[in-house]
């Protein structure tokens, strides 16, 4: 069995009377791309927000390499190697692509006391940023202003920023959303490459992409885990077919 990096045990989140996540168990292993599927409102965003520290769980425990990190905020989780991308593109639109990633890379070695150093000349940070840009397939766009990139490129930049933080766990919230088929194919290739050395949680709507790339799939409905298993198991699960595909049909 491979190394479990991030695990949620009995994770629950309530908003007033509404239970958005109920007793969710999930574990992410290095080398495994774990997809989280579910209709709109199933609690996928709440789940990823709790894993990334954007939202504290009402109950339950979150562990990183066995250590309880439930109480850590998002910046502390980023520090230990949990990175996330956002569903709605969440970049620094007025900065260049390089500066977006440079800021991300700088967080690994922030040196805030070096008040008289030129941040752009701290070689380790800039190199890390350039490497992340290249890995995410944005080489050559370094000087472009992030807000002027195409939608697909902005999604790639989201990933590049996470990579620049050297994250071991990638929590990716719908990285394929709104992408054309070419761009999607590129992103799938990228994800396949990335998972070799990292643990990835992929929240995604696009079923074809999920079945093409995922090693493991967890299906959520109404804030609860309905089924978790290999793509084959999920495809053949009567529960999933009934509950999830039924819901999906309503949406379409």
């Amino acid at each position: 069995m491979s190394e479990v990096l991030l695990a949620a045990e009995g994770m629950t989140r309530r908003f007033g009377g509404l239970t958005a996540n109920h007793n969710v168990n999930l574990s992410l292993e290095r080398g495994v791309l774990h997809a989280l599927l579910g209709p709109n409102g199933a609690g996928k965003s709440t789940c990823i927000n709790m894993l990334s520290g954007d939202l504290p769980p009402s109950e339950g425990t979150i562990r990183f390499k066995g250590e309880d990190i439930t109480g850590l905020g998002s910046h502390q989780r980023s520090k230990i190697g949990i990175g996330r991308s956002y569903q709605r593109t969440n970049i620094f639109p007025k900065f260049s692509v390089l500066e977006n990633c440079r800021l991300a890379a700088q967080s690994r070695n922030p040196r805030p006391w070096r008040l008289f150093a030129d941040a752009l000349r701290l070689a380790d940070t800039v190199e890390r940023a350039r490497a992340a840009i290249a890995e995410a397939g944005l080489a050559g766009r370094e000087e472009r202003i992030a807000g002027t990139l195409s939608h697909g490129e902005q999604r790639q930049l989201e990933i590049a920023m996470v990579l620049a933080t050297d994250a071991q766990v990638l929590l990716l919230d719908e990285p394929l959303a709104g992408m054309g088929s070419d761009e999607s194919a590129q992103m799938v290739t990228l994800l396949n490459r990335l998972k070799a050395t990292r643990a990835i949680l992929l929240v995604e709507h696009d079923m074809d992409a999920v079945f093409a790339v995922a090693d493991r799939i967890t299906v959520m409905v109404n804030g609860q885990v309905l089924e978790s298993g290999t793509p084959q198991q999920i495809r053949n699960s009567p529960d999933v077919q009934q509950a999830y595909l039924g819901h999906e049909a309503e949406h379409e």
Binding site: H75, R84, N90, A104, P112, F116, M161, T165
Partner: protein, 322 residues
């Protein structure tokens, strides 16, 4: 303006500032010294408003605390040593900013504006209501600080020219310091916080600490301005901490264009210029000032620079991703 023209322009302004006392009268030299001090004040606030996205409406507090500090450390019948009074004043302002920052930086957006104002008002009442600094009458600084080191005096602040160049030097120092800080890793994080604090957090930055450091540094530099102001005019009143002063310095930053140090300096020039112009016209000059401000906001949609939109985006969009 391309960068070479901009550099030449800045050097020309610098030359004019340095040459001014040689040609200008004493009155205008003092006024220019006042402008230079207010430019320091405005640059210190711009670090918060323009570069970090923190709209502080209580920045006069740190200016005033340092001004009182120099008055209080000066003995009644002797001058204080400059090398004691200056660091003590700046440190006092920094300390007050640090403590207030611990409270106000827990809030965001409109709360931040109101809470910074309220804390500044609290500082105002400390000096207004208690006998600490002479109450509402204020306190005189009978002697300007003495620059002598072990009996040797490199300059004498009682000499108007020396004082003027001391002020000009301080302003250049602050300009250079902030330029350096803003290109450092620390400064880059501040600009990132203004653009998208939420993302900075998720990238692993403890943004609160950065904001607190920026708030403290801005307080210290406002303190330097307050120190110089007290030394220049020789008295300190609670009005130095009043919310009108906080409003004025915010005006300077905005008039000049936020997120631009040279703009903050230009804003100080513009505000003092407008005040001089209007006071020369009528006793009710504040009316003209008010109308100018209202007209500026109404008829310059989108603000005097593009930056306010970014602040708005931060206030509205920086809280959650949902």
């Amino acid at each position: 303006m391309n960068s070479r023209v901009s550099t030449i322009f800045k050097l020309a302004v610098l030359a004019a500032v340095l040459a001014f006392p040689v040609f200008g009268s004493g009155f205008y030299t003092e006024m220019l010294a006042k402008v230079l001090i207010l430019a320091i004040f405005a640059m210190s606030l711009d670090l918060l408003v323009g570069f970090t996205g923190l709209v502080s409406f209580g920045h006069a507090a740190y200016f005033g605390v340092a001004a009182y500090a120099v008055a209080l450390v000066t003995p009644k019948y002797d001058p204080a040593s400059l090398w004691l009074a200056l660091p003590v004043s700046v440190a006092a302002a920094a300390l007050v900013a640090f403590v207030i920052g611990l409270f106000v930086l827990r809030t965001k957006g409109i709360y931040f504006i109101m809470v910074t104002l309220a804390f500044a008002q609290m500082a105002y009442y400390v000096f207004h209501d208690t006998p600490l600094g002479g109450g509402s009458d204020g306190i005189y600084l009978n002697f300007k600080p003495d620059a002598a080191i072990a009996g040797w005096a490199p300059f004498d602040l009682n000499e108007p020219l020396h004082l003027y160049y001391f002020v000009a030097g301080a302003m250049l120092f602050v300009y250079g310091l902030l330029k350096l800080v803003l290109r450092s890793p620390f400064g880059r994080v501040l600009v990132g916080i203004r653009s998208n604090e939420h993302r900075m957090l998720s990238l692993g930055y403890a943004t609160f600490r950065y904001k607190l450091a920026a708030f403290t540094l801005a307080g210290a530099l406002a303190g330097l301005a307050g120190f110089l102001y007290a030394v220049l005019f020789g008295f300190v009143t609670p009005e130095y901490l009043s919310w009108h002063k906080s409003g004025d310095v915010l005006l300077m930053v905005i008039l000049g264009g936020m997120g631009n140090l040279a703009g903050a300096i230009a804003g100080a020039v513009a505000l003092v210029g407008l005040q001089e112009l209007f006071t020369g016209m009528t006793k009710h000059w504040q009316l003209l000032m008010g109308v100018t401000i209202v007209a500026a906001v109404l008829f310059m949609p989108g603000g005097m620079t593009a930056t306010p939109a970014r602040i708005m985006a931060r206030i509205n969009g920086g809280k959650t991703n949902e």
